[in-house]
């Protein structure tokens, strides 16, 4: 790749020489930027942006425009077409949980998720505000609340009006069916009465011996058939009416949605006001302080020993609460962004665990055939095992370490402590580490282990024999041989393995989270599936995209790392 860039550099500077003799020196810094940029996009694997950059720097514009059309515009067009097909086909497919959401619905779901996250942040901020800032914030929130409330009223009214109008329209559409239904019901009623009469008449005839009992049975069979046909006809009309009812006019839906949105906002601001005025950190501290003061005056005046004991006890409790109040934070709700962060943390831990085990073991396997022979059966048997099985096994085995009370286990106490040693801010506190997360991370590690291990072993055992001979001639010791020859020469393959591992880990993680209810994208998807609200289907598809995009970027990062450690043109050959 590099060579290619170099030769291109030579060509283009030659070309320039012909066009503007004597001006080449001035072009040099520009060229430097250009080739720097080109090298960067090549390294990061976004070769698609090669033509536009060349175009910006004015290199062979016709060719670049052709390349852009071929390798950028056409793909964009194709993806656009796919989205368009999704937009057309999706909403037409009715499922148990409603129509399949189209792209626009999913995009809105993203907006709502983002707003939800914002709200959580605002609430947490409000909770921690103190002094003048809090007072200021209260007035601000009140003002906004007023605005939203008036708007909500307006929208509510509009929504009601449109709904009424919509209802009228619906009634109009329903009217013919209703009339049909009435006539049909009347017809069925008379038909039923007639049948009943016929049955009674025939029964009498049978008792008189004028008709055979078989005739009676045949009549009943005929009548029951007729009954079924009647109710089927009724059901058909009912289904049509139901469809009209379940599909209110677009305007009504839109008005309702708009009204709901603002109503949500009103709800949120009310909650914020409540937090700011009643449950804010400062406020709750003040409340505790006043109780303590009250109790203290009572204690001073108290004479009954029982009363004194009771008061002292409650004062002690209140004081300890006061100390805790300082550390209190509003517990965050599980927003999709928080879930994403947690998933990333889990996959990172799992991946690191896998790398820490796989690389040394892989090196040992590659260096020593006996070790390889010993480990081959273990690798072959455990590699195909499903992540689900691993998760269950880890829940039992690793879970045992956290007994009896996981919340009090030193690992979780440390990881969830807001401050370490009282003053270092713990950057992992927001994750809320719990056993389920550990199990998920272990599962990720277990499944991500194999590709890295196998590739490392391969990389080490495929070292050029000449390089080993160099080591022999130089009489390098074991460690020098390891760090100067073995590891550097196998790094490209090791990173190729790690890249596969990370991909596997990310895929496994989502399943593990769904199964173990460890907070993360997997759990988010599972919860949405279980909860089945109108938005959840769109949220599931949204999560699908988030998982995909993050997976894509993780892979890119690994490609860049792999390219950085490769000593040749990106290939693993020496």
């Amino acid at each position: 790749m590099e060579r290619h860039v170099h030769s291109a550099a030579v060509q283009s500077s030659f070309g320039r020489l012909e066009h503007q003799p004597g001006n080449t020196m001035a072009d040099l810094p520009k060229d430097k930027i250009k080739y720097g940029l080109l090298k960067f996009i090549d390294l990061s694997g976004f070769k698609v942006f090669d033509p536009p950059i060349r175009l910006i720097f004015g290199e062979d514009p016709q060719k670049q425009i052709r390349d852009i059309a071929k390798f950028m515009l056409l793909p964009i067009l194709f993806v656009g077409m796919c989205i368009w097909m999704w937009h057309i086909i999706g909403p037409n497919h009715k499922t148990k949980s409603g129509a399949v959401p189209g792209p626009w619905t999913v995009w809105n779901a993203y907006g709502e998720s983002a707003r939800f996250d914002e709200r959580e942040q605002e609430k947490m901020e409000d909770f921690a505000l103190e002094g003048a800032e809090r007072i200021e914030r209260i007035s601000l929130v009140k003002k906004q609340l007023d605005e939203f409330e008036s708007e909500a009223k307006k929208l509510q009214k509009i929504s009601q009006e449109t709904e009424e109008k919509g209802n009228e329209e619906q009634e109009k559409r329903l009217a013919p069916f209703k009339a049909q239904m009435e006539s049909l019901t009347a017809k069925i009623k008379t038909a039923k009465a007639e049948r009943k009469a016929a049955q009674v008449a025939l029964a009498e005839k049978v008792t008189l011996g004028e008709a055979k009992p078989e005739e009676m049975i045949a009549l009943f069979a005929k009548h029951s058939e007729a009954n079924t046909a009647d109710s089927e006809a009724k059901a058909l009309i009912k289904a049509e009416m139901d469809e009209i009812r379940s599909d209110p006019p677009q305007e009504v839906q839109k008005a309702k949605l708009a009204a709901n949105k603002v109503a949500d906002e009103v709800q949120h601001f009310k909650k914020r006001l409540d937090i700011l005025e009643n449950s804010n950190k400062e406020v709750s501290k003040e409340k505790i302080l006043t109780t303590i003061a009250e109790k203290k005056t009572e204690l001073a005046a108290a004479t009954d020993p029982k009363e004194i004991a009771k008061l002292s006890k409650s004062i002690a409790i209140a004081e300890s609460n006061l100390a805790k109040a300082d550390e209190k934070k509003l517990a965050p709700s599980a927003t999709i962004f928080w879930q994403t962060k947690r998933s990333l943390a889990t996959v990172f831990v799992g991946f690191m665990l896998a790398a820490l085990i796989a690389i040394p073991v892989g090196i040992m396997c590659g260096l020593n055939k006996i070790v390889m022979a010993c480990l081959t059966p273990i690798i072959s048997i455990f590699r195909p095992v499903s992540p689900v099985v691993w998760l269950l096994i880890f829940q039992i085995i690793v879970g045992a370490f956290f007994l009896p009370d996981p919340a009090k286990h030193p690992l979780f106490v440390t990881l969830n402590n807001e401050y370490w040693f009282g003053w270092i801010k713990n950057p992992f506190a927001f994750l809320g580490t719990n056993p389920a997360m550990v199990f998920s991370a272990c599962t990720v590690a277990m499944c991500a282990l194999w590709p890295a291990l196998v590739n490392t072993a391969l990389g080490v055992s495929a070292i050029d024999k000449d390089h080993m001979n160099v080591a022999r001639v130089l009489k390098l010791g074991f460690w020098q041989r390891l760090f100067k020859i073995v590891i550097p020469s196998s790094l490209p393959l090791v990173f190729a393995g790690l890249r596969i591992s990370l991909g596997v880990g990310w895929m496994v993680l989502i399943a593990a989270e769904a199964l173990s209810s460890s907070d993360g994208l997997g759990k988010f998807v599972w919860d949405e599936y279980q909860n089945g609200s109108s938005r959840s289907f769109a949220n599931i598809i949204l999560a699908c995209f988030i998982v995909g995009i993050i997976g894509f970027f993780l892979d890119r990062i690994m490609i860049v790392l792999q390219k950085l450690v490769s000593f040749d043109d990106g290939s693993a050959t020496a």
Binding site: V473, K475, K484
Partner: protein, 297 residues
Amino acid sequence: MSYLEMNQVDVSFGPVSNRTDVLSNINLSVKENEFVAVIGFSGAGKSTLMSLLAGLQQPTAGEVKMDGKLIKEPGPDLGLMFQNYSLLPWLTVNENIQLAVKKVFPKLSKSERNDKIAHYVEMVKLGHAGDKLPHELSGGMRQRASLARTLSLDPKVLLLDEPLSALDALTRSELQDQILNIWETDKRTVVMITNDVDEAVLMADRIVPLTMGPKATLAEEFVVNMERPRDRRTLNDHPEFMRLKTEITLFMMGLNKESKAAAAEVVPMPDIRPKDFSLPSANIRLKNKVSQPTSAA
């Protein structure tokens, strides 16, 4: 007084029941500061011979000695320059040499070490490319870097395993001069393996032909009685050069014929000739082409 010697060395591979003898009854003796070239066809076992001298491989029978001591393992004293450069591709030229210098002179300070590296890099005229990675260099530059690394070991014996066979003719002659220059200013014992008669006559004091394998052995040597320094430009007019060149070439060609004859004895090829080559479509051009091998056989 021989400095480097091989006494009745045999090398064979494979299990006892199915042995392949590569080298058999090799006797070689190299004096101190002598330049000996071993010449042979590819596949004759030249590289195996070199591995023996470098201590990378042990003989099946016989002994290989340097300065009277058996060679049991490779080491910096036996400076082997590999056929395909064997530079570590993840290290720059300087770093490759540094690896060797650090090992052989571990007590040098950093600046002394850098001086030493610079000295060897300059010696092969690579001063401008010290910070380049091997894959950024041309074949000749790589081989020069490899030579610098070998020289930086300050070896007692320099073992050159077809050092120039992967290079183009121009680079090759340039490097030949460089190696000769270095050797003449800083004499040491050299064993060079080559398949180029001109190269051997130009560079060596003695030329030892290696016969064809299997069971290759060293044939009668040719002594090059030509004054040094030898001038490449006048070489073709030098009667001694022409004589040696012709003699060695004839000898080598004779070896080739002999081995072919020997091979023919071992596996008699059945005398089979195709009856008819005509294709259904009777394409004349194709017919002519196909019938050629028949006449050649």
